[in-house]
Subunit: 750 residues, 2 copies
C-alpha cells in the first residue's frame, strides 16, 4: 500500500461518513423517527421541540454537532449519570494523550523513520507506507534514541493524565455518593446464604440474627422469593381480579402482599384491618401462606438506621463460617438483577470459574470461523472439499461475492454475536446487579476484542503457530516486534472502516430505524414503535474505544502515520457519543463509575505491551541502549499502576466511613432520617420496577408505617408502589403496562 492509496481509502471513508451524517441530519428531523433518535426525550416525556417546516426537514444541518459540543458536563452528568461521564472521560483522555503522541511522533519519529535508510525517495504520494514505519530505520542506527525518547514522553504523559483522570473520577464518585443522597441502597445490605433451619423460616432467622447482632441499627428486612413464584402469584391475582368484587379483592391483595413480600411473618397480621382477619380462614389464603414460606430464597435485603451501620454490616465478616450470612452492599433498587438473587451463594464461586473458562475457550474457538473465513478466499480448496459447489462457484458474480464480501460479512456477524454471548455469560456468573453484569460483560468483550482483533491479526497464521509463539515467553517481544509493524496498513484501514464508519452507523442506528419503519409503515402499529428505548451499551462501546487506544499506543512509534487518523476518530467519537447520550439512550441504573479501574488497567496493559514491543524492536535493530532504557520504563509503569491501585481502587470498592457518617449526621440534623426510614420498607419490592429514572420505587408512595414499630414484635411490612414483575431483561421495552395488570396495581395502591 502506498500513500496515495491510503489517502484514497481515507477520502472514500470520509465521503461515506459525510453522506451518513447528512442522512442522519435529515432523518432526525422527521417526526416519524422521533422514537429512534430522541428515545430519551420521549421516554422522559420532555416537551417536544418545534418541528421545522417541511422544506427545512430535508436539508442537512450541523446543528446537532454544535449542541453536542456545547452541552456542559454538568448537564450530561444529570442526564446520563456518572457512567456516561466516565465513558466520555475515556475519550477525552485518549484525545489528550494522542495529541501529545501525535505531536511527538509526527515531528520527531516520522522524519527519523522516513530518512532512516540511505535510499532514493520517490514522490511522497507514491511512496510505500513501509517507508514511514520503523522498518525503514537501519539496524544499529544512532537515531533510535528518538523512538526511545518518544516512548518515554508518551508513557509519562499517559501516566500523568491517567493519574489526573483517576483522581478526578474518584472525586466525582464521592460527589455522586453525596449528591445521590438520600439513596435508599446506602441504607440497605444484601444478605445471602441465610442458613436453613428446621424450626424457623428464613425470614425469622434474619430477624433473629440481625436483631441480636445489630440490634441498635437494624430496622427491618425483606425476603427474596423465587421469581417463578412471584410470576405465578401475579397471574393468580389477575385471575381472581376478574372473579371477585373490587372491595373484597383489595383486602385479599393487601393480605397477600403483607404476609409474603414484605419479609413479614404471621406477626404482621396485627396491623391489618379487622375485615381482612376473616380472610384468614379462606382456603386460598392458607395455601398461599404455606407456599410463600416454602418459596423463600435464602437471601434478603436488610435495612439499617444509618448508612454507616449498613456499611459496617456489609463489610464485616458476619459468621465464623464465611459461606453463611454473606453480606454485601445492596445495589440500587433499579439495578437489581432479581433472578440471580435466587442462585444459591455456594454456586457463585464455581459459576465464576466456569464462565471464566468458557470465555477463554470461546476466545480461542473464535479462531475457527476466522480460519474458515480465511479459507473462503482460497476457492480452489473449497471446491475440492465440496465438489457439488463447483458449478455454482464458477459463476463470476458468485465468485466475487464469496471471495470479496462473504468473509467480512461472516466475521462481522460472528463479532456482532459476541457481546450478547458475553452478556449471557455474565448473567450466568451470578451478578446481582445489572450494572455489575454489564461491567463484567464489558471486561469479557474487552479481552475478546484485544485478543481477536489485535493479537490474532498481528500474529496472523494458523492457530497452532500462535499458541507456539506464546509457549516460549522469551521470544514474545521479538515476535511482536517483527509482526506488529507489518500490520500497520491493515489497522489504518481498520480505523477508517470500523472506527469512522462505525461511528456514523452508531449515529444512524440502522436496526431501530428499520424496526421503526417496519412497525410504523408496514405493520402500522404506532404505539409500539414509540416505546423503543434502551440503555447505553457500555459493554460494546467501552471495549471499542479502548481497542482504538490500544492500537494508538502500540503503533505510536512503529507507524506514527496512524496517529492523526486516530485523533480524528476520537474527536468524532466525542461528538457522536455526547449526542447519543443526550438524545438516544435512557439511564435505567447507575454503576457509579465502577468501570474506570478496568479502563485504567487496560491502558496500563497497552502501555506495557508497547514498551515490550519497543524492547523487541530495539533488540532487532541492535540498539542495546534503547532496549536497556525500556526495562526501567516498564518497571516504572508497573510501579505507577501499583501506586494507583493502592491510592484509588479502594474508593471504587467501598465507601469511606468519613463520607457516610458526614451524610448521616447531616440527615439527622435536618430530621430527614425519619423520612428515609419510612421510605425504606417499600424500596426493594420484588414486584416493583418503577418507570421513573433514578428513583427508588417507593418514592411516590411512602408508607405510613413508622420505624418505631420495629421494637414491637412485628417485622416491618411493605406497601407496593407501581408494580411490574415482567420487566426483567434489559432488551425489553420499559413502559409495558398491561390492562388487567394496571388495574391490579391501582387496586393495591388504594
Amino acid at each position: 500500500m502506498n500513500v496515495s492509496a491510503l489517502l484514497t481509502s481515507a477520502a472514500i471513508n470520509i465521503g461515506v461518513c459525510v453522506l451518513l451524517l447528512s442522512l442522519y441530519s435529515v432523518l432526525r428531523k422527521q417526526p416519524s423517527n422521533l422514537s429512534v433518535y430522541f428515545g430519551r426525550r420521549l421516554h422522559q416525556a420532555l416537551p417536544r421541540r418545534h418541528d421545522p417546516p417541511r422544506f427545512e426537514r430535508f436539508i442537512p444541518t450541523p446543528s446537532w454537532i454544535l449542541k453536542a459540543w456545547e452541552t456542559p458536563e454538568e448537564e450530561i452528568l444529570a442526564i446520563g449519570g456518572l457512567d456516561a461521564i466516565v465513558f466520555l472521560r475515556i475519550i477525552i483522555f485518549s484525545l489528550r494523550v494522542f495529541s501529545v503522541a501525535t505531536f511527538v511522533c509526527v515531528f520527531l519519529v516520522l522524519p527519523v523513520n522516513y530518512y532512516g535508510q540511505e535510499m532514493h525517495h520517490k514522490q511522497i504520494p507514491s511512496e510505500s507506507l513501509e517507508v514511514f514505519t520503523i522498518e525503514n530505520v537501519k539496524e544499529g542506527s544512532r537515531w533510535l534514541w528518538a523512538h526511545c525518547l518518544a516512548l518515554y514522553i508518551i508513557t509519562c504523559s499517559a501516566c500523568l493524565l491517567l493519574y489526573v483522570e483517576y483522581k478526578n473520577i474518584s472525586t466525582m464518585r464521592l460527589e455522586y455518593i453525596k449528591a445521590s443522597s438520600p439513596n435508599l441502597s446506602q441504607f440497605t445490605v444484601l444478605v445471602r446464604s441465610i442458613p436453613w433451619s428446621e424450626q424457623k423460616s428464613y425470614s425469622d432467622s434474619v430477624f433473629a440474627f440481625f436483631s441480636k447482632y445489630h440490634g441498635n441499627s437494624y430496622l427491618g428486612h425483606q425476603m427474596v422469593y423465587w421469581c417463578g413464584t412471584i410470576r405465578k402469584l401475579v397471574t393468580d391475582a389477575q385471575k381472581i381480579c376478574s372473579g371477585v368484587s373490587s372491595e373484597d379483592f383489595s383486602n385479599k391483595c393487601k393480605h397477600l402482599l403483607n404476609c409474603g413480600f414484605c419479609g413479614g411473618s404471621a406477626k404482621t397480621f396485627r396491623v391489618l384491618s379487622k375485615e381482612s382477619e376473616s380472610v384468614k380462614d379462606n382456603v386460598f389464603y392458607r395455601d398461599l401462606d404455606a407456599t410463600i414460606k416454602e418459596k423463600e430464597v435464602p437471601a434478603a435485603f436488610v435495612f439499617f438506621r444509618t448508612r454507616f451501620a449498613a456499611c459496617v454490616a456489609a463489610e464485616t465478616l458476619q459468621s465464623s463460617n464465611p459461606m453463611l450470612w454473606v453480606t454485601d452492599f445492596a445495589p440500587e433498587p433499579h439495578d437489581i438483577y432479581w433472578s440471580n438473587l435466587c442462585i444459591p451463594y455456594r454456586q457463585i464461586w464455581i459459576r465464576k470459574i466456569v464462565t471464566l473458562l468458557t470465555t477463554a475457550v470461546l476466545m480461542f474457538l473464535f479462531l475457527i470461523p476466522v480460519t474458515f473465513v480465511q479459507g473462503l478466499t482460497h476457492l480452489e480448496q473449497l471446491q475440492q472439499a465440496f465438489p457439488f459447489l463447483k458449478n455454482i462457484l464458477e459463476k463470476k458474480f458468485i465468485n466475487q461475492v464469496v471471495t470479496g464480501y462473504l468473509p467480512s460479512v461472516i466475521l462481522l456477524l460472528f463479532l456482532l454475536a459476541v457481546p450478547p454471548i458475553m452478556m449471557a455469560f455474565s448473567s450466568v456468573e451470578g451478578s446481582v446487579s445489572r450494572s455489575g453484569r454489564k461491567k463484567s460483560a464489558c471486561c469479557k468483550v474487552l479481552y475478546f476484542v484485544i485478543w481477536n482483533v489485535f493479537f490474532v491479526n498481528v500474529l496472523s497464521g494458523s492457530v497452532i503457530s500462535q499458541i507456539s509463539v506464546f509457549s516460549s515467553p522469551k521470544s514474545i517481544p521479538t515476535q511482536l516486534a517483527k509482526a506488529v509493524p507489518t500490520q500497520a496498513s491493515f489497522f489504518m484501514t481498520y480505523i477508517f472502516t470500523s472506527g469512522w464508519a462505525g461511528l456514523s452507523i452508531e449515529l444512524i442506528q440502522p436496526l431501530p430505524l428499520i424496526y421503526n419503519l417496519i412497525t410504523r409503515h408496514i405493520l402500522r402499529r404506532k404505539d409500539e414503535a414509540c416505546n423503543w428505548s434502551y440503555s447505553f451499551p457500555y459493554h460494546t462501546e467501552v471495549p471499542r474505544v479502548l481497542l482504538f487506544g490500544h492500537l494508538g499506543f502500540t503503533f505510536s512509534i512503529l507507524a506514527p502515520l496512524m496517529l492523526p487518523f486516530l485523533l480524528c476518530y476520537f474527536l468524532f467519537a466525542l461528538l457522536v457519543y455526547r449526542n447519543q447520550i443526550l438524545n438516544v439512550y435512557i439511564t435505567k441504573y447507575e454503576g457509579g463509575g465502577q468501570i474506570w479501574p478496568a479502563v485504567h488497567n487496560c491502558t496500563i496493559f497497552s502501555l506495557v505491551l508497547t514498551q515490550i514491543i519497543g524492547l523487541g524492536v530495539f533488540g532487532l535493530k541492535l540498539s542495546t541502549v534503547g532496549a536497556g532504557f525500556m526495562i526501567p520504563l516498564i518497571i516504572l509503569t508497573l510501579l505507577f499502576n501499583e501506586y494507583c491501585r493502592k491510592r484509588f481502587s479502594p474508593i471504587f470498592k467501598n465507601t469511606a466511613a468519613q463520607v457516610l457518617i458526614d451524610l448521616d449526621q447531616e440527615d439527622e440534623r435536618c430530621g430527614r432520617l425519619q423520612e428515609i426510614h419510612q421510605q425504606l420498607p417499600s424500596a426493594y419490592c420484588q414486584l416493583t420496577v418503577s418507570s421513573h429514572e433514578f428513583r427508588p420505587a417507593g418514592y411516590n408512595t411512602p408508607t405510613s408505617r413508622d420505624s418505631s414499630q420495629r421494637n414491637s414484635s412485628s417485622t416491618p411490612g411493605t406497601s407496593l408502589g407501581t408494580v411490574d414483575p415482567f420487566v426483567d431483561s434489559e432488551s425489553q421495552p420499559h413502559k409495558l403496562e398491561r390492562e388487567p395488570y394496571a388495574k391490579f396495581s391501582n387496586l393495591v395502591n388504594k
Copy 2:
C-alpha cells in the same frame, strides 16, 4: 546406587542418630545444661525437677520420648500456643497422608515398577535402585493404571485430610480468640498515616477524628514515637536519676511520662498533683515537651469500648483517600515490632515490592555458590584458574578435604545464612508485628528451599539451561518427568542426612550448648548462660517439614521406596518437636495459627506439581489414558483449593462479627468490660516489654483512671508497668534488667 548401599547409608545414619539421642539423653540430665535443654522451664521459673543421682546421670534413658509422646494436646496448647499446635498438625497431617501413600505405593506401585520390564532380576540387595522407580516400567505398559490409581488415592486422601485439618484449625482459632479474652489487642486498632496538619499535633488530629466519627465507641488513643527518641529519653532520665533526689525525680518522671508517652497532650496536666505543676516552669521540661511533640510518628493505637467497634474501625475504609487514616487490627502488645511503626505508610507498598524482587534475585543468585561448589569437585579447573594453588592442592589430604567436605560445608554455610537474611528482608518489608514478620520470612524461606533444594537439584545443570527450561512452559512436564526420577537416590540420602540427622542436631542444640560451655566453664559467667531463651524458629522449621512433604508427594509414584524412610522422619520429627516445644522454646507472642493457609497452599502446590509430573511421565510412557486422567485430577485439586480459600481463609484474615459481639455481650453481662477499659491505656506502652508471657504489660498495674474521663477535655493517659526499652530484637536475652534502669522503673511504679 544399589539397595545394599542404600541400606548401609540408612544404617549409618540410624547409628549416628541413636548415638546423638543417647548423648542428648545424658546431656539433658546435667544440671549445668539446664539452660540449654529446659530454657522454657527456667524462663517461667517452674519448680526444678529432682536431680537424679550422679551415676544415673550418665546412663541414656528414653524417658523424654515417653514424655513427649504422652503429653496431651491441651497441655501443648497451653505451653506453646496455637502456633505450636498448628506446627505439630503439619507433621501429623504428613504422617497420616504418607501412611496412606506408603501403603498404596509399596503394595501397588512398587511391584509394578519392579516387574515393569521383562528382565533377569538379581538378588534384591544387589539390585539397582532404578529398578524400583518408574523408569523400570516399559513404554506403553498396561500396568500404568496402577500409578494413575495411586495418584488418585493420594490426592483424594490428601485433600480430605487437608479439609479436615483446615476445619479443625479454624475451629481452634475461633476457640483461641474466645479463650484469649480479655485480649486487649481486640479492643485496639492501629492507625497509620495520620494526616499532617500545621495547627494540630498528630495526637490532637487522632482525637478529633475518632471522637467525631466513632464518638460512641472511642475510648482513647496512644501515639507512637520515634524509637530513637524513646531511647534518648530513658538515657536522659537515667542521667537525671543520678543527679536529683528521689522524691523530686519521681514527680518529674511522672510528668514526663504523662505528657509524652500516653498520647496525652497539655490537657493531661489537670490530673497531676500540685507539686508537679511547679515543674512546668522547669527549662528541662519545656524543651522536652516541644521535642516530644516533634517526635510523634503519624501512627497511633486507638482504643474502643467494644471488640466489635474496634473490628469495625479496623475493617472499614476510614477516609476517602485510602492512603490516609489507614486502620488495621492492632497486634498483641508483645507482638508489636515497634521500630517498623515509624516507617511512613506510603513506603510500605514499595518496600514490599522491593523485598519481593530482592528475594527473587537472591533465589537466583544462590545458584552462584552452588555452581562454585560444583566447580570445587573439579580440581584441575581450579588449578588452571589459580596456578599458585597447585602445590597446596597436590597434597593428598588437602585434596580430599577440598573435594570431599568443603563443597557441602560451603553449601551448608550458605543455607544457614538464608533464614536470617529472609528475616531481615521481612523486617525491611515493614511488618508491624513480630509474628507477621516471622510468617513472611517463613514464606520466603519456603520458596527459597523449594526452589534451591528441589528444583535446582532436579534440573541440575548450569544456570542458563534451567532458565531455558522455564522459558518454554509446554515442555515443563516432560522435562520434570525425565529429571525427577533420576534424583531419587540423592533425595533418599538427603532424607537420611538432612532429615534424620538434622532432627538429632535440633535436639542436641549444638550452638547453645557450646555457648553455654564457653560462658560457664571458660568465661565463668554463670548468670548470662542462664538467660539463654528464645522462641520457636517457625521460619526455618516449617519450610523444612514442608520440603520433606513436597519430596514425599513428588516422589510417591516415581520412587515409592522413599516413602517408608520419610514416614520414619515424620514420626521422629513429631517426638522431637513436641519435646522441644515442651522444654526448650519460650512463647513470646502468638500468631493465632496464621501460618496454616500458607501450609495449605504449599501442599496444594506439591500435589499439583506431582500431578503435572505424572502428566509428563504418562506422556513419556506413551500412556494417553493415564495422561488424560491427570487433567481432571489437576482441575479438581485446583477447584478444591479454591473452595477452601472461599470457605476458610476469611477466618484467618478477620474475626466474625458474631464471635466478637458474643464476647462483648458476655463481658458486659459479667461487668468485666469496665475492668478491661481501665487496663487498656497501659496496654500499649512503647517503653514496656513485659517479662511475662502472654500478658499485656499493664496487667499487674492497672491504672486507676476511669474511662468516663474521656468525655472531659483530657485525652487518656498511661501509667507505665515494668519498663524495658532495650529489648527489641528477637535474639536478645529477655530478662535483661540493668541496675540504674531497675531503679528508674521502680520509681515510676511508686
